[in-house]
């Protein structure tokens, strides 16, 4: 496929996707305190419950929505124009930024002047802005100053997921959580968002040059978030494919997306991605820096790295992964490892350190990095260059020595009012996961943790989304704020679109399981709605409430292809006679007319044998006929 054809196909794809929001789902907007503050959610409409007594409506369920305008059938999407700049007013109103007449990065200026890239350039670009001299424009700065920004209010509304509108008690029931010391309030207020950001326990990745971004928050007192990595490599994939993956990833729930491109056209690819992204975009700037020195790690230097940071900050990158915690003195700690250094950024910096026998220049220039970030509100994600790449290397001295350094750096970032999160492993057997979380909280002063998995075994290539999903759910429960997904292709190749989806579904499961386990308020609503739909054989509602309605529907269809069976009160698992749900429903409706009375009465049934025969007669009179008519089931046996 040539480049034009590829682009056409990608645009067609985005166009198609836009028209296909989830089934029985509506994009709704919850209005905040101002007309330009409208928080998107996805509302899933449910069918009524039909009984012999008539029909009873079931309330729609609102779910967190990361799909941006792509999930809104009324929105006009044009990838050449980019998304609407919903934050532009808010940024302008603060009046602490100024447009730049000239881009600050030398590389960007050279690139812009090179007509060879005209064909692949995103053209509808505003001038970049930057904090006025002497100003800090980070959400952390505002939070500490006691200012509740529109971003914070937006997030508060978003995190509550309109759960105050849920009226059915049965939907609201929820188990007490175990949050291991988190401080999750019953209702997220804008003031709570501000206070958590001010304390450094949460970040709002929101570069002033990415006004298209729908604000979101990363912190352990909020919903657990999921990051999806995309990005081409020198070996495969194009700009269009990457934009397509971005849209696809946010459709399936990616809260942030990292562009890990390493091939040609990194600069141009990134521009297309940011302009079309409603979620924060993260990068690993050293990847591009290395491209600029033709892959020779030894040739990296602070000046060109600095220029790369500014280049990316002015494009609108929301967070940078910086491997500043890998110090020269840590490297020898990795020599006895089974898998050495497995972080790409980490190995590049280790190579640089050894070649120069100098301290990592990202460490020595860390304050300057912060000074750049504070002028664009780029958040820092402190990379764990020494994370273990195998179960064998988990929790070793190299890993924890670096983590301690990350704690020091987090303090420096905080002093510069730069928002900061900490990256974590990797490959960790289950019994060693909690120690990671506990140590991170301790040495990083509760800065949000952001982990890759962790994988709980090494022997599952092809299924590492599952083995890492196990670790991700657990560390999310223990307090990790964001989970970096792993796809089935991990360790084997670059993920394609289906891999991206598989990785995201596995991680949405992990993140949601963590929310439930922590006792996040309202987290159980969707589960309860699903379970009620299950018990009442509302198959369509089950599909529509699922994380992946398409797959749920197609699996059900596969075994029972006829339309009648698809809505039948049984499924192929158990067949018409063995359906536990059906039998259980019948027991309830024919026997326990009034639950309260029945419970009291029957609980004592051992003692009062008299009357049993009468009950038996009643039950048979009611039940037998219904029982023979249909059946369906849940678990197998």
């Amino acid at each position: 496929m040539n480049q034009r054809k590829q682009r056409q196909s990608a645009e067609q794809f985005i166009h198609n996707l836009q028209g296909q929001s989830f089934p029985q789902s509506q994009k709704v907007y919850v209005r905040g305190s101002r007309a330009d503050l409208n928080v998107p959610m996805r509302q899933i409409t449910l069918t009524p419950t039909v009984t012999e007594q008539g029909s009873r409506p079931n309330q729609a369920v609102c779910v967190y929505d990361t799909s941006g305008s792509y999930g809104d059938p009324d929105a006009q999407i044009d990838v050449r124009k980019g998304l609407i700049r919903i934050r532009q007013n808010w940024i302008d109103e603060r009046a602490d930024c100024e447009p730049l007449m000239q881009k600050s990065s030398l590389y960007t200026r050279q690139r812009d002047e090179n007509q060879g890239f005209d064909a692949i350039r995103f053209t509808n670009k505003a001038l970049p802005i930057r904090a006025k001299l002497g100003h800090v424009v980070t959400q952390l700065h505002y939070a500490r100053a006691g200012i509740i920004t529109p971003e914070m209010e937006y997030i508060a509304i978003r995190e509550n997921c309109a759960r105050d509108k849920a009226r059915q008690d049965v939907l609201l029931q929820q188990h007490a959580g175990e949050s291991f010391g988190a401080a999750i309030p019953d209702v997220i207020t804008a003031e709570f968002v501000r206070s958590e950001v001010a304390r450094g326990r949460a970040i709002i990745p929101a570069n002033i040059n990415h006004p298209e971004c729908e604000p979101m928050i990363i912190g352990r007192n909020f919903l657990v978030k999921v990051n999806a990595n995309i990005g081409n490599s020198a070996v495969s994939s194009s700009i269009e494919e990457e934009v397509e993956k971005l849209v696809w990833a946010t459709r399936w729930g990616a809260d942030t997306v990292m562009d890990l491109s390493t091939g040609r056209h990194i600069h141009e690819t990134r521009e297309w991605i940011i302009r079309n992204s409603a979620v924060p975009i993260g990068t690993v700037p050293v990847y591009q820096a290395l491209e600029k020195v033709n892959g020779v790690a030894e040739d990296l230097n602070w000046e060109m790295f600095r220029d790369t940071l500014i280049e990316q900050a002015e494009q609108g990158v929301d967070y940078f992964t910086i491997h500043a915690g890998l110090r020269l003195a840590h490297i020898p700690l990795t020599t006895s490892r089974v898998t050495g250094i497995v972080s790409r950024g980490g190995s590049i910096m280790a190579k640089w350190c050894l070649a120069h026998h100098q301290e990592n220049f990202l460490y020595s220039h860390f304050a300057e990095i912060c000074q750049i970030c504070q002028r664009y509100d780029v958040s820092l994600s402190l990379g764990d260059g020494l994370r273990p790449g195998s179960v064998a290397d988990a929790n070793d001295r190299a890993q924890f020595a670096e983590l301690e350094t990350l704690g020091e750096l987090a303090k420096i970032a905080s002093q510069h009012e730069v928002q900061v999160i900490i990256e974590g492993p990797g490959h960790i057997p289950m019994q060693l996961i909690k120690a990671n979380m506990d140590k991170q909280l301790e040495v990083c002063n509760e800065a949000p943790f952001y982990t890759l998995g962790p994988l709980v075994t090494d022997i599952s290539p092809g299924y590492d989304h599952i083995s890492s999903g196990i670790g991700a759910a657990m560390i999310g429960w223990y307090g990790c704020a964001m989970l970096c997904y792993v796809t089935p292709k991990e360790h084997l190749g670059l993920p394609d679109k289906d891999d991206v989806k598989q990785g995201l579904i596995a991680y949405k499961i992990a993140a949601h399981a963590a929310d439930l386990a922590k006792g996040h308020p309202g987290a159980q609503i969707r589960d309860n709605a699903m379970s009620l739909a299950r018990f009442e054989f509302r198959w369509e509602d089950q599909f529509n409430l699922a994380l992946d309605p398409d797959t749920a529907r197609s699996y059900h269809d596969a075994t029972l292809p006829q339309q009648s069976a698809r809505t039948a009160h049984f499924c192929s698992m158990c067949g018409p006679k063995f359906c536990s749900m059906k039998i259980s429903q019948e027991i309830r409706t024919t026997h326990f007319d009034s639950k309260e009375i029945a419970v009291t009465e029957l609980a004592k049934s051992d003692e009062k044998a008299r009357g049993l025969q009468e009950k038996s007669r009643q039950f048979r009179a009611h039940g037998s006929e219904i029982y023979l008519s249909a059946a369906s089931g849940d678990d197998h046996e």
Copy 2:
């Protein structure tokens, strides 16, 4: 497809499967103390490590093998004859059984006489045997009598997985586990197997009428096991398909298989399955009993249930799920549940109890059930008819009241020297899982726990193998002895072959992760071998060590289709310049000639700035050229 064609195709399938053991894998047999005691394992041959200094062999890795003769290219398979009866001598030698001139079950005799079933009957059947009057022939009986049976010796060899042959220290390194009070020895001896069975902490499901079965053990001081459910329903699938699924399930690691058939020909299907199964077969007898009364639960009675137990015991079923713990008085506890009773067996018995207003006849006749089991060595799996079918219903009074009853029943089984395990949930959010395990250990006197998942959220239909895999890994770590798999079709339909595989891989990951976390000796060998292969770019070894070599290989091929790339020292994830593994290897080989010296020296490098320039010069002299040549990677970034 007509029946004959279907059967031909299934036989062809089994024939094909037999010729295709895993790549670079050999079936090996470890000889025990007698000539007829040969324990199968799968030995994965690895390629040598090639360095500039020459090549170094890598030791083969032995893994636990559930595939039976199907995994042995030298075995003669004929599904019409069934597998070799490897335990026949051992059973005969004990001289406590006698052949039955006539089958004891009335139903079986009627069925045998009915020529209408001749076409689908398995014909190469030996006469059933039974304990001589007054004898108990359970492994528990022998264990308590201090007898180490050949089955116990077989299991001891099997559980050790020949790890005493692993010679490379790097393979044997392992993290300390957290076993929550389990008592896992460094080496499993036959005497240890005996003592665990005697204490009721482990069972060996091994019906004397299933001599084809390769002995295995279920207990928390042994490797965590996985069960796969198969079985047709009235709506779909045939005998041949079920035998095919059995073979397929054991290929992918099923330690036991439950035949949950509910359609026509249950009796005949089961015979084909047992005669061709090298793993223990479990059933839920009430399913067949219900078929016998045309699906009318009210018409069930003890006499026909008893006949069904005997019918199945004489066919060779190794364990029965019996829902005897669901008592009449428990049923009202379910009325306020979101999803009522979701166990099929449980809902059938609840219906019976209510219709008759009598105590569950499985409870009242439990001692008689034990008396049947002890004469055939059928183990009991006490069903959790009141397990929660939704997160909302987790850990409620109904569930725990039944669990307490299961504890009482386990005691009765033990008094009858009948082996017993306890079934568990279901749907449980993460923070409530451990309470299940702890309570089970407490009230069931450490009898092995056998859980379905648990699913940690309800919103993932189509991916419930993942959400339940999370719960399964955790409860396996906490002490659960066997995990009943859940396939992607759970809640939606009957699993097909690919679903069976997907479910098994997810559960093999969960079980293995649990073994690692508990610190099961030798559990980390395969992980270490994988990680070493990864670090050394031995791609073929990575594929062959994977739980699913086919998928790992095909995923790697998909992105880099050329043969040269497939063996290249980089992969498509990072491309040639960004490979962390490659860089890390270079750092090690070019810089740290002697690990010890380098560590000491470099750790102090901060303090001794002198000499750094020289080091830098050395490194460049060694490293630059290698670095430019190739690269590959592990994790993404």
